[in-house]
Symmetry: C2
Subunit: 340 residues, 2 copies
């Protein structure tokens, strides 16, 4: 970043709240979204931090989201907590169902949260890290829009379908990853397009289904999954578990629902949580040591665990009490905050 | 295959039982293993069919397996069924715990089976397909031996760590995949070695951690994961969920336990099952239609669903009542069956 602005965490939150409230989000939604953006900004996760305020505003402008929706948690005796976001942003629904998911995981050993009828714009790692902070392992999945072709295909059927996972480590940052099953993020292709640079081979096809390195042709065509037919299979699994399993839209249906309007896609989300205490028969300490030995073996050979850069940023930004964002972004967001 | 032998399913099972019994497996284990090999052979899954009898015999010869071990299912009130294979092959343990897993999934909506202290040689797809045949979605994971380097690493830390998934489809073969998270199967590298052919780029490193296409250097070094850092992250997740989560060995520990002896690796296995009825709030029919639309969209563009070739073989072999295996394999197995 060339020119940056330093913001305290309170300033990040206040700026977020201003933009969100002015654009039509009620206080509860604005607070849940501001918390998420602040969490991402602490970790220097710029792509999912304050920058996402534009998408939140666009989602409101597209006219389908309810900025005041009150999520409804369905009571159940089983290990599934279903929460209906009622057409609001996903984060408030997650927040309200999280204590129930934790309670159900401790009661049943394994449990799941299904969020329905939500708009979704956010990173998944902050959610699985809420669970690992509670001593549970967790996995999260969402569909998106059908921008991604299946292996051997010629057009988009699948979403960017991220998979996130977090594993608790005592006294340490958790083991966490959060990756799109598309070979490239859609935002990255847009950056290549703006820079006039060709894409790497193997990330996209044009509208005729032929391989392309032209960013515009890729945006008009489809992205490919990472890892060939294996990544494609994984992406289909995510469509099924975060869509039809939980009575919610596939990426194909979500794209149709949006009908070309911008902003966040509308669909469901599924989160699985695992209690190490019950899975290990009470032998958590011994098995933590076993996991740590694996992590050490990976690090000792010079490889990195996922999220290490993010945790380093978190430690640095937390210690110094501020984060840095690009000045043009800050200028644009302040202007957005003034609009009514 | 140049010259083949036709075997009825009864003959496949009888040949398996003969080899297994003669090598020291008790009747219950021999039956469970023979069922698995027959299931694979019906689908022309040659790599995990009768060919695996050699590995079963090698496992017995390595001297650590108990061919008569009686699996012990631990009673529980939660959604986890833990079954101790007691140092036997995994399949009998799976078979005995399967009804409990199905019952727990119907009771809790989501449930898990943890198999501990088992030797493991088999494909995972027949297990997740037992669950999809019962109307449940299922995922299975196992570690193996630490032949696979993490992304950015120089030596093996991870197993080939397969992930299998199956989704029930009414009146149709299920949507199923079962893939190793290594870029290549270890057996494939051995085939390249025997054929004196170079490996493709990007599947292996030598013992110094440098990329190699030499099969022997790869066998002395390590395999890479599929899909770069994403496949590597996924593989680490599988190590954690099928190892430390369930109080069982990582691939590093499994390799140490084997201490160079051949045969199947010794470790744990985890299987997750999901009840669509409960996850969807009773809207299974509507959501089946939604999933089918996704499958149609994939197939209509000329892409294949995973396992389509296997299901075609199943239909053909079931209709004609026999399977074909290579004659040299059949000769070798008959000789093995005669040995005491």
């Amino acid at each position: 970043m060339s020119e940056t602005v330093k913001l305290t965490l309170d300033e990040v939150r206040a700026l977020s709240l201003e933009v969100l409230t002015n654009s039509g989000f009620g206080a509860n939604h604005a607070a849940a979204i501001a918390d998420m953006l602040t969490t991402c900004q602490i970790d220097d996760c710029q792509s999912h931090g304050l920058f996402r305020l534009f998408m939140c505003v666009q989602t409101m402008q597209a006219g389908k989201i309810d900025g005041h929706a009150a999520p409804v948690v369905t009571p159940s005796d089983n290990a599934i907590v279903r929460v209906d976001a009622q057409g609001g942003m996903s984060l408030l629904a997650f927040q309200e169902a999280l204590p129930v998911l934790i309670e159900k995981t401790r009661a049943h050993g394994i449990a799941a949260m299904a969020i329905n009828r939500c708009f979704h714009f956010s990173a998944l790692w902050p959610e699985v890290e809420r669970l690992s902070a509670a001593g549970l392992a967790a996995m999260a999945m969402v569909p998106s829009h059908s921008w991604v072709a299946p292996a051997g295909g010629t057009r988009g059927s699948l979403g960017t379908n991220p998979l996130a996972f977090s594993w608790p480590r005592r006294g340490k940052d958790p083991f966490t990853f959060d990756f799109a099953t598309s070979a490239f993020a859609r935002g990255e292709i847009e950056l290549y397009h703006r820079a006039g640079k060709p894409l790497p081979e193997g990330v996209a096809i044009d509208r005729d289904g032929n391989p392309t390195t032209d960013p515009q042709a890729a945006l008009d065509g489809a992205m490919l999954t990472f890892g060939g037919y294996k990544g494609s299979a994984l992406s289909i699994m995510i469509e099924l578990l975060a869509g039809p399993l939980i009575d919610d839209l596939t990426s194909l249906e979500s794209m149709e629902f949006a009908a070309g309007a911008g902003g966040a896609p509308y669909h469901g989300e599924v989160i699985l949580a695992f209690d190490p205490e019950q899975f290990s028969g009470g032998r958590v300490v011994e098995n933590d040591a076993r996991a740590e030995r694996l992590f050490s073996d990976i690090i000792d050979q010079g490889a990195r665990l996922p999220s290490q850069r993010r945790f380093a940023a978190r430690a640095r930004n937390t210690a110094r009490g501020y984060v840095e964002i690009a000045k043009p972004l800050h200028d644009d967001l302040r202007a957005l905050g003034k609009q009514g």
